[in-house]
């Protein structure tokens, strides 16, 4: 009898908890930690929710994990910054309706004494080559994130394989932690400008290289293909996507400032 | 209602070593049976088998009530009590310890309180009613063990060395308690003791356990009866 009671109470408990999670209209958006930590979503999502009545629940992961969430059908919409991978996943049929939304750019930061003397260079590829030549420490995200993907693409163009080198540290952590490790190690780090602006006051680092078109960081949004995963809320996801690339959405993105008053993202939906 | 305990051909061995061999006896009188015998003679084993804590290898224990054999073990177990040399003290108050046998018999709370008060008075522990039972002295613990066994007003009470490890003062209290019980004439008490003086002071019937057999020492009994 006692076991029957225990089982009963667990079932009741579960029902109680499940009921607490029922909400009318909401979608799950997989995005990246750097985007969430910038505070962008805190600014635009309330506007979107007010406009449409659809709630967006945000799960922040590395780009790789966010894309995988979409592929597995664990999200309705994916908002990341790794254009080549995104297009590949669309081509593979996992996602539909991909659109450019906005961009920011990457910068190379490091200790102000700049041991590899990359300051003044105009090409990121040259800067990476110099860092490798001088064997100065470089801290990599190493987590399949958008930033990591961008970094690997640049290494590829230098024809140097940094993997396994003594001066190349793959930390497998988010952008802020990677920056902080770079700070401690007096190392070079490739970072997105938004994260850099948000945290630079805590770091003894500065921007040593910027402005190369190769460092351009495009954000894209796409819906999980409802033909792959029939349960996804495709309609609501499309409402979100259309809103993001609409004038209202683009203006909202343009109006976002971080807590230090910096503008972090430039809308560029077509 | 009075219960008679009858042993027929009890045989028990531990690891090939026989302890009881074809042991038969009938406890058919009220009063105190004192069971004696050398160390390792099997006194405790016999008590544990009688109290249904252990099964004999062979033979039969039967309890008769007005010539009807009582069949269900649990009904029986609820009319007999056994006090072991080491009292298993529950980590609760003295009163809760003593109330335990009544609680498991689903007796009404008011009746429980009444009987607990009464029995604690009898063993002289009324003033320690709300004390944590684990903090009692060994003599008090033994008395609480007696109270806990007596609270159900058992038909048969088994006592295994009730005064083995306690001081003279507490021994005296327990012996007086046994004499009171004897005068009430309600229960059959079967006890073991290592103290010949005690056997003479409280016993009505003296039994010897020797070579696995139970024997009545008639000479002693008469003596006891004469002086008792």
């Amino acid at each position: 009898m006692k076991r029957v009671y225990s089982f009963g109470s667990i079932v009741c408990l579960l029902i109680l908890l499940l009921s607490g999670n029922a909400f009318a209209d909401s979608i799950l958006c997989a995005s990246t930690t750097s985007t969430e930590n910038s505070g962008l979503f805190g600014h635009i999502l309330p506007i979107f929710e007010k406009d449409t009545g659809i709630e967006v629940k945000l799960v922040a992961r590395g780009t790789g994990a966010a894309l995988e969430m979409g592929r597995r059908g664990d999200a309705d919409v994916v908002f990341v910054h790794a254009k080549e991978q995104e297009l590949e996943a669309v081509a593979d049929g996992f996602f539909v309706d991909r659109h450019d939304v906005m961009y920011n750019d990457f910068v190379i930061i490091g200790s102000p004494d700049d041991p590899a003397s990359i300051k003044g260079l105009t090409s990121a590829v040259d800067a990476f080559k110099k860092i490798a030549d001088y064997q100065t420490v470089f801290v990599s995200r190493g987590d399949q994130s958008g930033t990591h993907t961008k970094e690997l693409a640049i290494w590829k163009r230098t024809a140097i394989d940094p993997a396994g080198q003594k001066w190349y540290l793959e930390v497998g952590q988010g952008m802020e932690k990677t920056q902080r490790i770079g700070n401690e190690k007096r190392a070079y780090v490739l970072t997105d400008r938004g994260t850099w602006l948000a945290t630079k006051d805590q770091l003894e680092m500065e921007i040593l290289m910027e402005g190369d078109p190769v460092l351009f960081n495009q954000y894209g949004i796409m819906a999980v293909n409802p033909e792959k995963h029939s349960h996804v809320k495709y309609e609501q996801a499309m409402t979100f996507i259309k809103w993001m690339i609409s004038d209202t959405g683009q203006t909202a993105i343009d109006g976002f400032r971080d807590k230090l008053g910096n503008s972090l993202f430039i809308p560029n939906a077509k | 209602m009075s219960i008679v305990l009858k042993l027929e051909n009890l045989t028990k061995a531990y690891g090939g070593k026989p302890v009881l061999t074809h042991c038969s006896f009938s406890f058919d009188k009220k009063g105190i049976y004192v069971l004696r015998g050398s160390n390792g003679a099997g006194k405790s084993t016999l008590l544990r088998i009688c109290a249904l804590l252990e099964m004999p290898d062979k033979g039969k224990i039967s309890f008769y009530s007005a010539n009807d054999r009582l069949a269900r073990n649990i009904d029986l177990q609820r009319q007999i009590s056994l006090v072991l040399p080491k009292v298993g003290v529950f980590n609760r108050s003295v009163a809760a310890n003593v109330a335990y046998p009544l609680k498991i018999r689903h007796i009404a709370q008011r009746e429980v309180s009444r009987r607990v008060e009464q029995i604690l008075e009898l063993v002289g522990l009324s003033h320690k009613k709300n004390q944590q039972a684990l903090t009692l002295s060994s003599g008090e613990t033994q008395r609480m063990g007696m109270a806990r066994a007596l609270v159900i007003e058992p038909e048969i009470l088994f006592l295994d060395e009730p005064t083995a490890s306690i001081d003279d003062e507490n021994t005296l209290i327990i012996e007086n308690l046994l004499k009171t019980l004897k005068q009430n004439g309600r229960a059959t008490i079967i006890m073991t003791t290592h103290d010949p003086g005690q056997a003479n002071r409280v016993g009505d019937y003296l039994l010897w356990l020797k070579n696995g057999q139970l024997m009545t020492d008639f000479r002693k009994c008469e003596e006891v009866n004469m002086y008792g």
Partner: protein
């Protein structure tokens, strides 16, 4: 060291202000860990009692398993539950991923071995004379077993406190299966991880102090309850 004082100061301000968001996060932490703990106790205590009081086949193996699982890395549990609950996993149809139910499930898995192993050792360490005393006083076998479990109550409450400590401090599993969604699955530890990520160390530490305070409060309540239990019985 000034930053520690600063953090205490911020923690105090946060508590005094007690804004709705923080309150929600605290309550969710309690709800998730509390539900997981209660379910783990409801399931684990009878299991521990069965293991301790009956002889069953594979008992040794089972105990060994439970003891080993006490050290299960939360991220591994999180990943496993994630794969089970994912839309592409066997239980995906239930749509539980990124809900508090998923977090409770993961924490249940983490708490169960602790409850079973520690309750088992509490019950077996009860002196055998207790069971014997209960039987000699006329208890049925199941009444005697209940008496033994009641005697083990200190150890059982300690087991529950240990389980609660592990759950309240846990971040790896709930981050993976809960997703740290603001307002839905964001609890104290994941908030701390997030704020530390953002570089808001002071706020993170302040939240840590509040978390510690909550744990302290709950444990005190359990201990008072434990003490009451002795006096009343």
């Amino acid at each position: 060291m000034a930053f520690i004082l600063e953090s205490f100061h911020s923690a105090l301000i946060l508590i005094v202000r007690l804004d709705a968001e923080l309150l929600n996060i605290m309550l969710l932490s309690l709800k998730v860990s509390g539900s997981a703990l209660i379910s783990a106790t409801i399931v684990g205590l009878p299991m521990a009692a069965l293991l301790a009081l009956t002889s069953m086949p594979l008992k040794g193996f089972f105990l060994n398993l439970m003891n080993t699982c006490m050290g299960l890395p939360p991220v591994v549990v999180g990943l496993f539950i994630y794969l089970m609950l994912s839309r592409s996993g066997p239980l995906g149809f239930m749509g539980l991923l990124y809900t508090s139910t998923a977090m409770i499930t993961a924490q249940f898995v983490l708490a169960l071995p602790i409850i079973v192993a520690l309750c088992h050792s509490a019950i077996v360490s009860v002196d055998p004379v207790i069971r014997q005393a209960a039987l000699t006083l006329g208890a049925t076998r199941s009444q005697a077993s209940l008496t033994v479990i009641a005697e083990a109550r200190y150890g059982i409450i300690s087991a529950i406190i240990a389980g609660f400590g592990r759950l309240m401090a846990e971040v790896g599993a709930i981050l993976i299966v809960g997703g740290n969604i603001a307002g839905y699955t964001r609890v104290m530890t994941t908030t701390i991880a997030l704020e530390a990520d953002k570089g808001n160390f002071e706020l993170a530490l302040a939240l840590g102090i509040i978390l510690l305070g909550m744990a302290l409060l709950i444990n005190s309540l359990l201990l008072i309850f434990q003490r009451r239990a002795i006096v009343r019985k």
